[in-house]
């Protein structure tokens, strides 16, 4: 599973870098930081969600979506909005 996730994340980062190059914009250091934390939390959520389902712990699986999954999406959305709004201003 980690192999597939690694390939997927690698592809997404490559896509992001390609988009940044094509559209000629950069992310600030804190946007990289928030994005990295959001991504790590998202990966943590995915692993524990499926791990908990495998352990026959459906409530724990749902709680991971809520406790770490939701904040991870909020952080990633925050980075996206920060970058988009800064690009619009420029």
């Amino acid at each position: 599973m980690w192999f597939m996730i690694g390939i997927l994340v690698g592809a997404l980062i490559l896509e992001l870098l390609w988009l940044m190059k094509r559209n000629n914009f950069n992310l600030t250091w804190y946007e990289w930081l928030i994005g990295a934390i959001g991504l790590l939390m998202l990966l943590f959520t995915i692993q524990n969600y499926f791990g908990s389902l495998a352990e026959v712990e459906p409530k724990a699986a749902s709680m991971f979506l809520l406790v770490t999954g939701l904040p991870s999406l909020i952080l990633l959305a925050l980075v996206w909005q920060l970058a988009v709004r800064r690009a619009k201003k420029a």
Binding site: N26, F44, G51, S52, A54, E55, V56, E57, F64
Partner: protein, 500 residues
């Protein structure tokens, strides 16, 4: 502007490749290559690899304080199981049994009669966890025990034992460390989940009972070379002995079923497995010219197995002093001990922050149906009297341990009321988790490193819904596809690509 251009030249690349190749070659040369079993057991790598967050402590100094000046050999007929079998052959129908003597014979007979009636009612009502198939599983799990013997005689086995005398060769000789690795390999092959070792010295000798729980036979020492038993006594050789402490896992999901017959099946399975593993270890020791001193009767040995598990590094004490917790196996694991004259390198007690965690966590105490587990903030040397019989002495407990004292008389009542066991405390414990979700390793590493988050982690465990499963999901157990015997026997494997 991002820099996508690689500054690595062709020459640098070839140089890096050469360095990497050299590195891999050095690692390869340093890696162990085994040609036969002798080389495996002589290798340090054949030892028992544990998670990084399990630390070793000094010998005879576990995380639960022990006053070795107080610890004395126990008359094990005084434990609640002491002299258990009545004239009808059933457990606890003997008026001379300790639990009977404390609570009263009529009281115990009523508890047993109520239990029998409860089970009949539950099966007739098709109660989840007590359906006909659940009781059949419990019955099946306890139906095939191997012969249990103090001294192995290959009872019922048609093949001869291949001892050194049989072959005309001297007995096996190895260093204690080599012997320990060898016995671990043999025992695990025969079905042990993990094996630890102890030296019987002036302190640990006090753990050996002076009377046997089932028959009341005295356990004595004589100037002999080999142990033997008669109906009147169990005799140990008065020479250097060693303990082999064996862990046998149980079905964690079964224990999450709470007070059900599936839980009973999970519990009794460890004794069935142990009866076979013990005979195999004894036969192995016979085969190399030594002796294994085992359980004269299934369920009942001559040492307190949980004490051995703690002192010899399997596990730590918990809030319920009837239960110990392993870093690898959690609460749902059984422990057994046999003695031997084969020199073995002892394994020290461990500290994984588990007992410290139990100082804060009260999940088992809150969940206990009889409320017999202590809520105290600190453990105590003092053994309290039975809650419902305050005039009776707590003869069933041995002083000299600073623990959270469980009222075992109440625990036994609950144990009997629901068939052959309760163990909700073990099923609900924070450490009764599987290994698929990454969070468990992070939590265990944190608990071992600092006690700062213990309260938070206990509450988080409840919040995330771990523990006993709700009644509507009890019968789902039959639809799952769990591993053989209900547990993952690769947990403590570290070679062959099986280890986690």
């Amino acid at each position: 502007m991002l820099n996508f251009h690689s500054t690595l030249g062709r020459r640098d690349f070839i140089k890096a490749l050469g360095l990497a190749g050299t590195g891999i070659g050095v690692v390869g040369a340093a890696s162990p290559i085994f040609h036969d079993l002798d080389e495996v057991i002589a290798s340090q790598n054949a030892g028992h690899k544990r998670p990084w967050w399990v630390r070793e402590r000094d010998f005879e100094n576990p995380t639960c304080e022990v006053d070795w000046n107080i610890i004395k050999p126990m008359d094990n007929t005084l434990c609640l199981h002491g002299l258990p079998f009545g004239p009808d052959g059933r457990l606890f129908t003997n008026p001379a049994n300790t639990w009977n003597k404390i609570m009263g014979h009529e009281y115990v007979l009523k508890v047993i009669a109520d239990k029998d009636q409860n089970i009949r009612d539950w099966v007739n009502q098709n109660k989840p966890g007590w359906t006909l198939r659940d009781t059949a599983l419990s019955s099946a799990a306890s139906s095939q025990f191997a012969p249990s013997e103090y001294i192995h005689t290959r009872l019922g086995v048609p093949l001869p034992n291949t001892t050194p005398e049989y072959f005309g060769v001297p007995k096996w000789e190895g260093t204690p460390a080599e012997n320990a690795r060898m016995v671990r390999a043999a025992a695990r092959f025969c079905g042990a989940s993990q094996v630890q070792f102890g030296v019987i010295n002036e302190k640990t000798r006090n753990l050996i009972f002076n009377r046997y729980a089932v028959t009341g036979a005295p356990i004595i020492y004589e100037q002999i070379d080999k142990a033997y038993a008669t109906p009147e006594k169990l005799v140990l050789p008065d020479k250097q002995l060693y303990a082999i402490s064996v862990a046998i896992q149980m079905d964690k999901e079964g224990f999450r079923q709470g007070q059900t017959d599936i839980r009973n099946a999970a519990n009794v399975s460890r004794y069935r497995l142990w009866s076979q593993v013990m005979g195999c270890i004894q036969a192995f020791l016979d085969g190399i010219g030594y002796q294994g001193i085992g359980y004269p009767v299934p369920f009942y040995g001559i040492m307190p197995a949980s004490a051995d598990a703690i002192l010899f590094g399997h596990a730590e004490m918990s809030r319920n002093d009837n239960v110990c917790i392993s870093p690898e196996f959690g609460t749902v694991c059984g422990y057994f001990s046999i003695l031997t004259d084969l020199p073995l390198e002892p394994s020290p007690p461990i500290d994984a922050g588990i007992y410290r965690f139990c100082h804060t966590c009260r999940k088992c105490a809150e969940t206990c149906p009889e409320q017999c587990i202590s809520y105290d903030a600190e453990p105590s040397w003092e053994i309290p009297h039975p809650t419902t019989m305050p005039d009776k002495e707590p003869v069933y407990a041995v002083p000299g341990k600073k623990v959270f004292h469980t009222d075992v008389t109440l625990c036994m009542k609950q144990f009997q009321t629901v068939g052959i066991g309760c163990s909700v405390c073990m099923g609900t414990c924070v450490f009764n988790t599987n290994q698929a979700a990454l969070v468990h390793e992070i939590v265990k590493g944190t608990v071992s490193t600092t006690g700062l988050f213990n309260s938070f982690l206990w509450q988080a465990d409840k919040f995330f819904g771990y523990g006993i499963i709700p009644e509507e999901r009890l019968e789902d157990w039959w639809d799952y596809n769990f591993p053989s015997f209900g547990f993952d026997n690769t947990i403590s494997a570290s070679t062959g690509g099986y280890g986690k």
